[in-house]
């Protein structure tokens, strides 16, 4: 055993000097992940798989004599790279953060200067870098394919870039979910990804390849808008799930919610203002906003309503306005719920814009409007889910699982009732409108009475949540007083 003091500094040994293989500018987490994952069998096998398949494909293309040899090779390149980038690489993210949690290394990391966002980012960036390496290894085949003839180089390169972007978003989803303690939540996305990914790839590459190439030649303005919106939506979805993962592992001393909530609010208001007032885009925009609000609710439901003095301090020191701002942005489900209520208002303004006008002018309720029923119904399901998850949080400590369970149960009950009535939901809506997702019947039937009753239940469950929220804010008030006294004492 050496007895060298910690403070006696000898010359740097050659084996230690080799530690300069990665720049100091790179995030420590990225360095560690790259060192670790580039040595894994999974990466080596995927890389070799890609090279072997594409090598054989190119050989077949060169010796082939068919009329569309080049096109077939293109399809093969996209199909194989698509499987790797859109299915296999995101799947590798499914255990990324959980592995650190399970081994207790996440806690040790939290004692360093690494913030939770950098930890999750490192996991994601490492996987995306590897996908990038595979993309670089695939590009030469695409260039060589050019010499087989009949290729729209720009469009196919753009398609490749889109696959890469989508792979990044999907990887963010699996990495984000991998921070959840529930095995169901962690593996839900990957399990869905495999069949849906294969279906999408098969359809898009083998049946609709020429149309895809046409889309990516960016000739049609309407298609460009759709592509742009889809890309933005996918990126935001990936970002949001990524942030959900960050929230799951962030220590209480980090206010991990403010950035995520501000971005969400900004994104929703931006989309609402840009597209919501155009009659053509109203339906699509409302659906997107509705999905995002439901995603937001799914996220906030499991946030722990505990705030440390140092997190509350920046709000408290800004007086009444700061505290008011804190009501929407303090960490915890209670402040998230208040912000969700604002988002609900935004969705109603965008989606039900004509509703107040109609209501005021002709006395109609607008509740036979399909979109209004859908919005009310989704929020009813969301509020019931939050209320049940938070009421039973002591007994079932993973509220997200309860929230998802309530939704699944609601859907199952709705389907069951649908089967019982032979698909004719008429009359059921009014009686059963307290069940989440029963709005599907109400919308189908245009049942204004049932929709009114469902709105009543939605308001009741919202009020129930509000009671729980107010109880949590009672503690926040105590915390703010404590922070103020600490500030007075100069602690």
């Amino acid at each position: 055993m050496s007895e060298i003091s910690l403070r006696e500094v000898p010359e740097i040994r050659p084996e230690v000097a080799q530690l300069s293989d990665f720049s100091d500018r790179l995030s420590p987490m990225v360095v560690k992940e790259l060192r670790q994952s580039m040595r894994t069998k999974a990466f080596t096998m995927l890389f070799l798989f890609l090279q072997v398949i594409l090598g054989f494909g190119l050989l077949a293309g060169v010796v082939g004599t068919g009329s569309d040899v080049g096109g077939m090779f293109s399809r093969m390149v996209f199909f194989v790279f698509g499987i790797v980038a859109l299915i296999l690489q995101p799947l590798r993210g499914a255990g990324a953060v959980w592995g650190e949690m399970k081994d207790g290394t996440l806690e040790i990391m939290s004692l360093t200067r690494l913030r939770s966002v950098r930890i999750v980012f490192g996991k994601w960036a490492s996987l995306v870098s590897q996908t990038g390496l595979m993309l670089l290894a695939t590009l030469p085949y695409l260039v060589m394919r050019y010499f087989l003839g009949g290729m729209q180089l720009f469009a196919e390169l753009m398609m490749m870039a889109m696959v890469f972007l989508l792979s990044g978003a999907l990887t963010a989803v699996t990495v984000g979910f991998s921070a959840n303690r529930s095995v169901i939540v962690r593996w839900l996305a990957p399990v869905l990804l495999v069949p849906f990914g294969l279906m999408f790839l098969s359809g898009a590459i083998w049946s609709g390849f020429d149309e895809m190439v046409e889309f990516f030649s960016f000739q049609d303005d309407a298609v460009n808008v759709v592509l742009g919106a889809l890309t933005l939506g996918a990126l935001f979805f990936g970002y949001y799930i990524f942030e959900m993962g960050v929230s799951q592992i962030a220590p209480l001393s980090e206010n991990h919610t403010i950035r995520k909530r501000l971005v969400t609010l900004g994104f929703m208001l931006g989309i609402g203002l840009l597209l919501g007032f155009s009659d053509e885009a109203k339906m699509g925009t409302t659906i997107v906003l509705l999905v995002l609000s439901a995603l937001f609710a799914m996220d906030i439901v499991s946030e722990v309503p505990v705030c440390l003095p140092r997190v509350a301090e920046p709000y408290v020191k800004r007086g009444v306005l700061g505290k008011l701002f804190g009501r929407f942005f303090y960490p915890g489900w209670h402040s998230g719920f208040l912000l969700l209520s604002v988002l609900v208002f935004v969705v109603f303004v965008v989606g039900g814009l004509t509703w107040p006008k109609r209501f005021l002018s002709s006395g109609e309720t607008g509740l036979n409007d399909e979109l209004v029923i859908a919005i009310t119904g989704v929020f009813h399901a969301v509020f019931v889910g939050i209320l049940i998850a938070r009421l039973f949080v002591k007994r079932f400590p993973n509220p997200l699982v309860i929230f998802v369970g309530v939704q699944v149960l609601g859907v199952v009950l709705t389907i069951f009732l649908g089967l019982m009535t032979g698909g004719d939901g008429l009359g059921l809506g009014a009686v059963m409108s307290w069940i989440p997702w029963m709005w599907l019947f109400l919308m189908d039937d245009g049942d204004a009475g049932g929709a009114l009753l469902m709105s009543f239940f939605a308001v009741i469950s919202w009020l129930g949540c509000l009671v729980l929220v107010m109880r949590e804010f009672g503690r926040t008030g105590d915390l703010e007083k404590r922070v103020m006294s600490m500030r007075k004492e100069g602690v």
């Binding site: 500094v9 084996e15 230690v16 100091d24 420590p28 894994t40 360093t112």
Partner: protein, 329 residues
């Protein structure tokens, strides 16, 4: 005492479980302080709260004067944490493992290499530099964990059950390292449920049971506590069947059998007065027992601790008993 860790009326509640119940103590700067208690006594929970990994339901913790809730980053920079169990990374060498944490702690360039080299030399890990960290023995893993905890040269080192699962050689090595750290002036706060392990290397011991601090002092103070209770222990060997001794003990109300041995037994006499022991010996001989050995035995720490717990259980009083305030779970 210049306290580097100050804990005041600490509580931690998990649902219905009051894991830590009104604990208060100080750990002096530069001392080696042992934290002892059975599994589930609340040691790890207390240590985790000091290390900013958990938060108190009530009470206050300060490290070098900094409140752990108010200044967690500052506290983290002051202490090194070594948990009882931590996983290592597959496909990452010992050198890369330490390099990762050095980077994560903000060391850059040559300084980073220096820090890694220093801790590797201190923990004797240089010969293992190229070995994958998940292929190390338990003892080597503990040294790696210690090296990681020392990278930022912390004032205080918190070690939760560091000797658990170590073979005797690795235990000796660990004790040696802790002594070296103490010589360096570091404060070491170390937990274990094996008293003998801590008794000889700690300046101060804290005993926990059922979430409460039941005694604090050094090893001698614990033994003295038993003697104050007015009992003493003797090993008695007899010629012939040991049952003769057992039968004799049953007939004598001031003596009880603590443990049966091959040639006799360990007996407790309800007085620490040597004259009483001499009287017991003379009675044994006069009653026909062929006593070939009669030797007073110093109580070991385990016995003393168990006696103390029984004493506390009978309402003998904990050192620090606090009335829990109303607590959020």
């Amino acid at each position: 005492m210049d306290a580097v860790i100050e804990v005041r009326n600490l509580h931690r509640v998990f649902g219905k479980l009051h894991a830590v119940n009104g604990v208060s103590f100080d750990v002096g700067r530069g001392s080696v302080c042992g934290f002892i208690g059975a599994n589930g006594a609340g040691k790890t929970t207390t240590m985790r709260m000091i290390a900013t990994l958990d938060y108190p339901s009530a009470g206050e913790i300060r490290v070098s004067g900094y409140d752990v809730l108010g200044y967690p980053e500052k506290v983290r920079s002051l202490l090194g944490w070594m948990p009882d169990h931590f996983g290592n990374y597959a496909n990452v060498t010992v050198l890369e493992y330490l390099d990762f944490y050095a980077r994560a702690m903000g060391f850059r360039g040559k300084e980073r290499q220096m820090r890694v080299q220093e801790v590797m030399e201190f923990t004797d890990l240089l010969p293992l530099a190229g070995r994958f960290s998940d292929k190390l023995s338990k003892g080597m893993t503990q040294r790696l964990g210690l090296g990681r905890a020392l990278l930022h040269d912390p004032e205080v080192l918190i070690m939760d059950e560091p000797a658990a699962g170590l073979d005797p050689k690795a235990r000796v090595e660990l004790k040696h390292l802790i002594r070296l750290l103490a010589k360096e002036g570091k404060t070491v706060f170390i937990s274990s449920h094996i008293l003998s392990e801590l008794g000889e290397m700690c300046d101060h011991l804290l005993f926990m049971d059922g979430g409460r601090l039941v005694h604090q002092g050094d090893a001698e103070s614990l033994k003295d506590r038993g003697q104050e209770a007015g009992v003493s222990y003797y090993v008695v060997h007899v010629f012939g069947e040991p049952e003769l001794l057992f039968n004799w003990v049953e007939m004598n109300p001031h003596v009880s059998l603590v443990e049966s041995l091959k040639k006799g037994g360990k007996v407790e006499i309800d007085s620490s007065d040597p004259e009483k022991a001499a009287y017991v010996l003379s009675r044994m001989v006069s009653d026909g027992l062929k006593v070939i050995e009669f030797r007073r035995e110093e109580r070991n720490l385990e016995d003393a601790f168990i006696d103390m717990l029984e004493d506390v259980g009978r309402g003998g009083g904990a050192e620090i008993a606090a009335t829990p305030p109303s607590l959020p779970s």
